[in-house]
């Protein structure tokens, strides 16, 4: 008897089944990828229009964070510096004098600091045109979260706690998840992340790292918090979401 269905049709259920499984996986993976906000990703490291190196400036040259991020102690934002702030140093190559030489000598690879580097040419051009540098944002919290830098920095939360060793990053990347659970870790146990600003400046990332890794220091902080420091990080919704 002639077969109604050719033999190859026997494979249809298997192919369909396998296809369904792979399809589901693909859809799930796709949805996962497309719908996960990128700003929650640790390691997000966009390419910047100018290859500004925190490693060179904050690390090798030892510039304080607040030289550029001037508002961090007064405002919710740690502002991006104005172009004129860059030009304070980068106006004339000669004026950089020893600093430039120092930077180049310590870090032989940082050729971008040369006067004729395309990055600095772009900076000077933008400055001359009065246009801002189109920096790409690395750390982004959603609109429904309010994070005041001033409150944290003044309370003794170091830049290190959220941004890690940004003074060792040639190109900045997101070092922590910035998710709510991560925030609460610190708000629930502040002694593990607070430094006494009398001991160390919050912008001295290397020393802060050393202190925070020292378990006896967090024990002291815990005592101090209880006795006199008056640091009560809120854990209620309304503290950050409004």
């Amino acid at each position: 008897m002639s077969t109604l269905f050719p033999k190859w049709t026997n494979a249809i259920p298997q192919v369909l089944g396998a296809g369904l499984v792979f399809g589901l996986i693909a859809v799930t993976a796709g949805a996962w990828y497309w719908m996960t906000p990128a700003y929650l990703e640790v390691g997000y490291q966009p390419t910047q229009p100018i290859a500004f190196s925190h490693q060179t400036h904050a690390g090798l040259l030892g510039m304080d964070c607040r030289y550029c991020h001037t508002n961090v102690e007064d405002s919710r934002h740690a502002n991006i510096p104005t172009t004129t702030t860059c030009m304070n140093c980068h106006t004339v190559a000669d004026n950089l004098g020893g600093y430039l030489a120092k930077a180049v000598s310590i870090d032989g690879s940082s050729s971008s600091a040369h006067w004729d580097s395309p990055d600095l040419q772009l900076l000077r051009q933008l400055h001359a045109e009065g246009k801002p540098v189109p920096w790409r944002r690395v750390h982004k919290l959603p609109d429904y979260v309010a994070f005041p830098h001033a409150a944290h920095v003044n309370a003794g939360v170091s830049c290190y706690s959220c941004h890690k060793r940004i003074d060792q990053m040639p190109i900045v990347y997101q070092a922590e998840s910035l998710g709510m659970g991560w925030c609460l870790e610190c708000h629930r146990a502040p002694e593990n992340h607070l430094v006494d600003t009398n001991d160390v400046s919050v912008t001295n990332l290397r020393d802060v790292q050393a202190l925070l890794n020292d378990s006896s220091y967090s024990a002291t902080m815990g005592e101090q918090l209880k006795s006199h420091l008056q640091r009560n990080p809120p854990q209620t919704c309304g503290a950050c979401h409004y």
């Binding site: 508002n71 920096w135 944002r137 982004k140 001033a150 809120p234 503290a239 979401h241």
Partner: protein, 1177 residues
């Protein structure tokens, strides 16, 4: 309604007759309170609304058929598919820093600059503009400015939205052979010199300037320059709403035009003769009037200082904010008001004696007994005149614009004779532009056009083609002028008819100056460079000063230079260091030493006596049509402002509309009900307009508000309401006698909020008379209640429902348990107090909240469904002294009740009540949220995490105060009006763009609509669709204050360290906010007052927002005060009978307290609960 058993005050064991409806009486006064006529009559519609937690159709998208729906949605589904997915991934965010650091800018922190806004018809408000990196986001009152003292009004609050109105940015245009063409200001600057040079030969003949009224040193200086170049050019100040009567009255009384400058804080007795001085009448200088008035009403003690309050009598044609705040309010038609006042004057002056007074009194002789037909008016006149005479030098009489000049003159005479002049009221000469008669100006223009002598008309501000008197036929005349130049914020009806339509800068965009009513000179300091469309090559506008400079051929066209030049010649001519003084006045927002210019002026009694002959007697049954400025859009100038359009009117609670306001019994007589279209005919003109019945409109008057029915306003204001200028003629600008009203069929849908979010007839408003407060206010608060339990109840609470309900025992044990982490015992604990005695219902709290908290405008269609988003609403309750169950009312609409014209004593009174979130300590909303999106924090705030909310709306269902708002659509991102999806299909069907649901509207961030988002407060989340939101006590300000106090090393946030938005704006200072655990804080003192009560405290929500009961100060001669509220109440047939005799007989009276039922209910509940628990176990 009667089956609800949760609240003893609403329990009625007798089943009510089907046809009988009784509203619960108020414990303290025995009055009935109701919000709308539907509620009073208990219509099925009202009942249905009560039963539903959310208004009908609240979750339906369209009322149209499913097919239409799919057709419409198809397009948007398709769009959503394209746009939604990529939007989820990798937001590539740019950070653009400044290239050069501006001075004094800290990113993320607001900077405040002083400026001032000119108010309509002269005068100004001093403001502080909050700016974020150069972007103004909110306006507050300037604390240094004597008019504002830090407070503001709905208009100054809403001006920020006008700044970002995309409709404002239409570029300049010129009438060409093929319609209008866009032009640039440069074109005008090229055209002007040659054109205006022609008038040098004629000395200015043929040239006229029709300018808005303002008192500005710089504009006056430009006027003088124009005059010196063209002496015969006409300079004509014009405002659509501008009564000659007030000026002429002062001319009669003083021989020169004077402006009144009252100081209500010194007045113990205030008589308002049709003057809405807390609302639309600028006589008391806007916010200064509310502030000084309420300063005389704040009760802080029962004896000694702070225990007395002023007394306000209002006689007016329709109940207003002022009438609602009054101790005695009487609604009479305008001519009856005149007769009433004439008779009152006669009585007072005769008793004062003296030759001049006696002569005026005898000139008013014909009014003797003229009020006899009004049963109690004679009684009123006697009582008021006695009160005035007893308070010589401490009373004040204010007259409104609807009254004729002679009445104004009489009031001036009376104020002088009573010794008030120089005490409670003083006078200052009117500036030249302000003393001009608007009606004379517009008639002059019309006459010049008619005889062909007018060649060029420059119109600055104003919109005469829309608002000129209809009998002049101004639009037709206007088109006959060879050259017309119109400078205005918007392209309005006059603009599109003009040869040159020039765009004007907003006051926050360019320099200027203005003089406030009290004489304070303020600079107008710009906050932002003039805005313009970048696409389409639009060009920013210029200020009126710049235009006048161009016209006059001035050497500079720069407003900054013009202002400085005029100040060097004018206000600062005498100072030695101009720069220092200039900078100081920019900082302060005013020129030191100006202001307070009032003084007493001699009265010309013989002229007053002569004027008495002109007072017409009462018009009897002749219907009087009253034209009033709209409290929101004024003369129409604010009509493109969504905040104002959507703000419910203080009295009518209408949004997005105007109507013919009519007394309910008059409406019944004419067979009319709400929404019926009628034809109003008067002076040979007629208009079709819908009716809205308002108790408190005089029997013989109908009232319309002006400023609606704009045909050329913008996406928001065009086509809203009905143009009542169409029946306003040049000889009847305020009142038209002999109007006829006839039904023409058809009806109109209103969006009225008066019965939205109703809380049924519980004890919501508590009201007392002053003597009761004096006698009982301090009575021991620790007392036995009616159930013999020791309860701590203050004066107000003793009359609240809470006093006759047993203390609530929670099924879950004590409210604050041992395991609860926070016990509200650490500072700060936030709380609010709202004083109902001071609130006049203006709504500035609503607008300020809207500006602060990024609250969207939803449009008329959504408001009609009860979806308005205001976080703080102002409820308006009418009260009537008569028991509706006793035959004064029947249950039909608008039956002859207490409002019949003859029955003066039965007048309604009005109480307004702002209702924000109560921040209950036992918040019912929190227990029902399935996702913990709303919880309590340690400081007593009921916080709302928007990002957690999944939109079940359970919280709103469970909120007894109905203060939670739901984003049914993406209001924040969709434009109001404008383009919408499916316009090709629906364009012809949709009558008004306000009826388009936001889902189908164009996105805000497309094109120029992006501007609107610039107003947003960066400290507050913009909420998306499907999220609940509500008042948060401005938690962003609390958090900012907390951070700031830590930076300043303060132990606690001190009282007054910051204000919440509604509190800051309220000119009556009715709202107090602060830390309840601070023993010295204002709010602690307010909460400790005997008048403080919690709204619906009986249900044990423990609200943090408490109210101070409304206190009235009645004149015993008019209404005996209720001194002992308990006894008073016992005599009434209400549900509070048990207050008086607690005997058996009261149980037969109908409304019965039913403790047993409550107990049964509770035990049943407990059984049920244990059953469930047992089952689980």
């Amino acid at each position: 309604m009667s089956n609800t058993k949760q609240c003893p005050s609403t329990v009625d064991t007798k089943s009510p007759d089907a046809g009988e409806h009784r509203l619960p009486l108020n414990a303290s006064t025995g009055k009935t309170y109701w919000r709308g006529l539907e509620e009073l009559a208990n219509t099925p519609e009202f009942q249905e609304r009560l039963q539903r937690e959310f208004p009908a159709f609240a979750s339906e998208l369209m009322n149209g058929s499913r097919r239409t729906f799919m057709k419409l949605m198809g397009a948007s589904f398709a769009l959503a598919g394209v746009s939604a997915l990529p939007g989820c991934r990798r937001p590539d965010h740019k950070i653009l820093a400044y290239t050069k650091s501006p001075e004094d800018v800290i990113q993320g922190k607001a900077t405040y600059y002083a400026t001032a806004v000119p108010t309509p018809n002269g005068g100004a408000e001093g403001l502080l503009a909050e700016t974020f990196t150069g972007r103004p986001t909110k306006l507050e009152g300037n604390p240094l400015h004597p008019i504002n003292r830090g407070r503001s009004t709905i208009h100054s609050q809403a001006e920020i939205l006008n700044l970002y109105d995309p409709d404002r940015l239409i570029p300049a245009s010129k009438k060409g052979p093929n319609g209008r063409q866009a032009v640039s200001w440069r074109d005008f600057e090229n055209f002007a010199p040659d054109h205006f040079a022609r008038f040098d030969a004629t000395r200015g003949r043929g040239l006229a300037f029709l300018v808005e009224k303002t008192e500005s040193p710089s504009r006056d200086s430009m006027r003088d320059r124009i005059r010196s170049r063209w002496p015969e050019a006409r300079w004509l100040p014009y405002e659509a709403i501008d009564s000659d009567a007030r000026r002429q009255g002062s001319q009669i009384a003083f021989g020169a035009m004077q402006r009144e400058i009252p100081d209500l804080s010194k007045a113990k007795v205030i008589l308002s003769i049709d003057s809405d001085f807390l609302g639309t009448d600028p006589v008391c200088m806007g916010p200064a009037g509310s502030r000084t008035f309420s300063a005389g009403r704040r009760l802080t003690a029962t004896q000694g200082p702070g225990s007395e309050m002023n007394r306000l009598y209002v006689v007016e044609s329709m109940i207003s904010s002022t009438g609602g705040s009054a101790d005695h309010q009487l609604s009479l038609a305008p001519s009856e008001v005149s007769a009433f006042f004439a008779e009152l004057c006669r009585s007072v002056l005769r008793q004062l004696g003296g030759t001049a007074n006696t002569r005026i009194a005898s000139a008013l002789g014909r009014f003797e007994g003229s009020m006899a037909e009004h049963r109690d008016a004679a009684h009123w006149i006697e009582a008021i005149s006695e009160d005035l005479l007893a308070h010589r030098g401490e009373c004040v009489i204010l007259v409104g614009e609807s009254q004729p000049p002679a009445i104004h003159a009489l009031a001036h005479a009376l104020n002088a004779e009573l010794g008030n002049a120089g005490q409670t009221i003083s006078y200052a000469p009117l500036a030249e532009d302000l003393s001009a008669s608007s009606i004379a100006s517009i008639r002059q223009v019309a006459a010049d056009i008619a005889d062909g002598s007018l060649d060029t008309l420059v119109v600055i501000g104003g919109n005469p083609c829309f608002d000129a008197p209809i009998d002049l036929d101004f639009p037709a005349l206007y088109s006959r002028i060879p050259t017309t130049i119109h400078l205005a914020l918007h392209e309005n009806e006059t603009g599109i008819a003009s040869t040159w339509r020039l765009n004007r800068t907003h006051f926050l965009e360019d320099w200027g100056d203005v003089v406030a009513a009290d004489g304070t000179v303020s600079p107008i300091q710009p906050m932002i460079a003039p805005l313009a469309y970048e696409v389409g090559g639009g060009e920013p506008g210029k200020s009126d000063l710049a235009l006048l400079a161009i016209v006059a051929g001035d050497s500079t066209h720069d407003s900054y230079e013009l202002v400085r030049r005029s100040w060097q010649e004018g206000p600062l001519a005498d100072v030695t260091d101009f720069e220092a003084t200039w900078r100081r006045s920019l900082h302060d927002g005013l020129v030191g030493g100006t202001g307070a210019r009032g003084r007493a002026v001699r009265i010309n009694t013989s002229d007053v006596e002569r004027a008495c002959a002109n007072i017409t007697a009462s018009q009897g049954a002749n219907l009087e049509l009253v034209f009033q400025p709209c409290s929101k859009v004024h003369d129409g100038r604010y009509s493109n402002n969504g905040w104002l359009q959507e703000l419910p009117d203080a009295v009518t609670k209408l949004t997005w509309d105007n109507a013919l306001f009519i007394n309910p019994s008059k409406a019944k007589e004419l067979g009319l009900t709400d929404g019926d279209i009628v034809e109003v005919s008067v002076s040979g003109f007629s208009l079709d307009i819908p009716v809205w019945r308002v108790p408190g409109v005089a029997q013989n008057a109908v009232v319309v508000t002006l400023g609606y029915g704009r045909t050329q306003s913008g996406h928001v204001g065009t086509g809203v309401g009905f143009n009542t200028y169409a029946i306003r003629t040049s000889d009847a600008m305020e009142v038209a006698i002999g109007a006829s009203v006839s039904k023409v069929g058809g009806s109109h849908d209103f969006a009225c909020t008066q019965t939205h979010w109703s809380m049924e007839g519980r004890d919501i408003i508590l009201e007392f008379d002053l003597p009761a407060w004096h006698k009982h206010g301090d009575k021991a608060t620790e007392d036995l209640d009616h159930y013999g339990r020791q309860r701590r109840l203050n004066f107000a609470e003793k009359y609240d429902t809470i006093s006759h309900a047993p203390a609530i025992e929670s099924l879950y044990g004590s409210v604050i348990t041992e395991n609860q982490t926070h016990r509200y015992d650490t500072r700060p604990q936030w709380g609010m107090s709202i004083d109902l005695t001071m609130c006049n219902g203006c709504g500035v709290c609503t607008i300020a909240c809207q500006a602060e908290n990024n609250i969207p405008v939803v449009g008329k269609r959504e408001v009609a469904k009860g979806r308005e988003m205001h976080w703080i609403r102002v409820d308006r309750y009418f009260g009537s002294a008569d028991d509706p169950g006793k035959g004064e009312f029947s249950n039909t609409y608008g039956d002859a009740g207490p409002y019949t014209g003859g029955r003066v004593s039965g007048a309604v009174d009005m109480t307004t009540m702002p209702v924000p979130c109560m921040q209950c300590e036992n918040a019912p909303c929190e227990t029902v949220c399935p996702v913990n999106a709303t919880i309590h924090d340690e400081e007593g705030l009921n916080v709302m995490a928007y990002n957690r909310c999944i939109g079940t709306r359970y919280c709103s269902n469970n909120c007894p105060y109905k203060v939670r708002r739901f984003n049914y659509f993406d209001y924040a991102t969709k434009k109001l009006g404008g383009e919408f999806v499916g316009k090709e299909v629906l364009g012809g069907i949709v009558k008004s763009e306000h009826w388009v649901p936001p889902r189908l509207r164009e996105r805000i961030d497309e094109g120029a609509g992006e501007l609107r988002t610039m107003q947003s407060n960066p400290d507050v989340t913009v909420r998306e669709r499907g999220v609940m939101e509500k008042c948060t006590y401005c938690v962003q300000r609390i958090n900012a204050a907390r951070v700031e106090s830590k930076l300043q090393d303060l132990d606690h946030i001190p009282d007054g360290f910051f204000q919440v938005a509604c509190q800051q704006a309220c000119p009556s200072e009715a709202i107090v906010f602060g830390d309840l655990l601070d023993p010295e804080s204002e709010v602690r003192k307010e909460h400790d007052s005997g008048l403080s009560y919690g709204l619906l405290a009986v249900i044990n929500t423990r609200p943090r927002t408490r109210y101070k009961a409304r206190v009235r100060n009645p004149n015993p001669k008019i209404r005996p005060p209720v001194v002992d509220p308990f006894e008073h109440h016992g005599g009434h047939n209400g549900h509070h009978d048990d207050h008086g005799g607690h005997g058996e007989e009261s149980h037969d009276d109908g409304h019965v307290m039913s403790l047993p039922i409550l107990t049964e209910t509770r035990s049943a509940l407990a059984q049920a609960a244990s059953g469930v628990l047992g089952g689980l176990a």
